[in-house]
Amino acid sequence: MKTGYLLGLSLLTLGLVAALLGLGSVSIPSDQFTAALQGKGIYGRILWDLRLPKVLTAAGAGAGLAVAGLLMQTLFSNPLAGPYVLGINSGASLGVALLVLVMGSGILSGIAGGFAMVVAAFIGAGLVLLLVLALAERVRTPVTLLILGLMFGSMASALVSILIYFATPNDIQAFILWTFGSFRSVGYSELSLMLPLVAFGLGLALFLPKPLNALLLGEEYAQSLGVEVKAVRRLLLLAASILAGGITAFCGPIAFLGIAVPHLCRFLFATSDHRLLLPACMLLGADLALAAELVAGVPGSSQALPINAILALAGAPVVLWVILKGKS
């Protein structure tokens, strides 16, 4: 029955991918669709160069953030943990803020502009990641690490607000737009960097269901079961930070997925077994991101709503419903 759910989630993924490829601000005439699939003509370019990268980005980001959230919730034995508890998103925000607010949003015009933002976010996230990994060797319990992450986040947010205070309205708007999150600013050149990062993080996580299950009872029990706790902690932090950092750099900070999807999966599958939760989080994370992109794109119109707003507005009631229903 539980594997049946996994199959259902996979079918949903396929359906959403098909919907996102087929629907958009431009509708592809049905008689042109075969030609478009072969990459011919203007519709071929829309399908392969605009819609497919968007789909790949959304699916990769959704799966990656959901798994990163799961890893952190288990490592910290804390249901409120998510991919961003280590302050990685704040590092990325600071990087982008420094670029946009100090150099001016003019830097974003032109072909190199988008890539500069990615590089800035990536450097910011990477620095926080290195700091966290270095400190993880020295702290005794994960809770300390959690507090350190919070402190990094607060400091980075403080610097960002100072930058905003002195910035021009245009620059501020460019920065705020980045914080809304988007799966659309990623083309193939960015994907060629983002997808390997996501694949690395997900691949690493897929090797860890056994120690993750042992960690359910806390680090001491895990160690008494023969788990090399420090090594596992290092691997979990590495996987989660690469996923969170890589995705945030390209798509902006998308917090909701990472916190909500692991909970949804636990309640849907009524399990704490990571052998099931890991694939479930990947599929449901991808599904939710794809669905949000479908709604945000408002098929048939040229408008695009912010992804973060859609996810939280539509997602939070779903999470509440599932959890309340699960309790009764």
């Binding site: 034995s77 001491e220 023969g226 009524a270």
Partner: protein
């Protein structure tokens, strides 16, 4: 007989600040040892040191004759299992799932349980007397059932040594007695070495084969409960008065005087508790007497407000 767990000249503590030094101790297969001491004496630290969760500051520690430091974590997990005080968040884990976690040291890279592993899980569930709860979620269990489930998980590791930190802490008295009976059975029938820490003196005296006694400032004694008791070590460590007549520890200092009791059992025993709680002494020759009649307790001899307070509710039936 060779000890299952042996420490020589151990120093224990955190951050190079020793809580106790020069500890030499042995734990033998088939025995139940209670590690006893007041709060803060370092029982948990000793337990965690012996089970390898924290390194000893000095001294030698061996598990089944091998130096503990030279035994890999995975190998250790097959020889020694732990039940800790913390109550872990168990999410959606069922009793069976949680017990199956104990097979961790025996399973392959992905943690898939073989038929043999499931058989061991079933055996552990039965031994810990939770087999009928197998499919229930741990989060919905009572404290007693949860504790037995954690013991089942430890048994699934097939350990030669089982160490438990305050296993009776959250339990009411009937469950405490039941759990101790279970632990005694695990030690004697399966020849495992059981070590459990507790601060419940009475229970430890009644159920332990031997005691390890930890006092403040690193004092450490080991021996049979009766020996340690008659040597006065228990009274030293706990700072209590030993009442040799009652064969129990008392805290009351002031003796108000003697009082005799004339009553059948069990009323006589309960009446005695009431007067002793208030600082009176049972003295069969005393003129003042507490007497059980058909209409309840009656007082003979001395009366007055003081006495009324002493026996509280008993007096109401006068």
């Amino acid at each position: 007989m060779k000890p299952a767990l042996e420490g020589k000249n151990l120093s224990i503590g955190y951050h190079n600040q020793p809580l106790a030094t020069g500890l030499s101790l042995e734990l033998f297969p088939g025995e139940l040892v209670c590690l006893l001491g007041p709060n803060g004496a370092g029982k948990t630290t000793l337990l965690k040191t012996l089970s390898g969760l924290i390194p000893p500051l000095a001294g030698e520690l061996s598990l089944l004759g091998q130096p503990l430091a030279s035994v890999s974590l995975a190998q250790r997990a097959k020889q020694l299992a732990l039940v800790l005080t913390e109550r872990p968040l168990t999410g959606f884990l069922t009793v069976k799932d949680l017990t199956a976690l104990g097979r961790h040291p025996y399973t392959g890279a992905l943690g898939q349980l073989s038929e043999h592993d499931w058989a061991q899980v079933a055996r552990a569930l039965k031994q810990a007397e939770v087999a009928e709860l197998a499919d229930q979620q741990v989060s919905q269990l009572s404290d007693g059932q949860r504790q037995r489930t954690l013991i089942a998980r430890a048994l699934a590791q097939e350990p030669a040594v089982l160490a438990l930190d305050e296993p009776t802490a959250f339990l009411d008295m009937p469950h405490r007695l039941g759990l101790m009976a279970l632990l005694r059975k695990l030690a004697s029938e399966q020849n495992r070495a059981l070590l459990l820490s507790t601060h419940e003196l009475d229970m430890a005296l009644k159920s332990a084969d031997r005691l390890w006694l930890m006092g403040a400032k690193g004092a450490f004694y080991q021996g049979a409960p009766e020996d340690l008791g008659s040597q006065g070590k228990l009274t030293t460590v706990f700072g209590l008065n030993w009442n040799p007549v009652q064969g129990a520890f008392t805290q009351s200092q002031v003796q108000r005087g003697g009082l005799s009791i004339l009553a059948p059992q069990p009323q006589a025993a309960w009446g005695r508790r009431a007067i002793e709680r208030a600082g009176w002494e049972l003295d069969p020759t005393a003129r003042d007497q507490l007497k059980w009649t058909e209409s309840g307790w009656r007082l003979w001899g001395q009366t007055g407000p003081d006495f009324a307070w002493v026996v509280g509710q008993l007096k109401a039936k006068k």
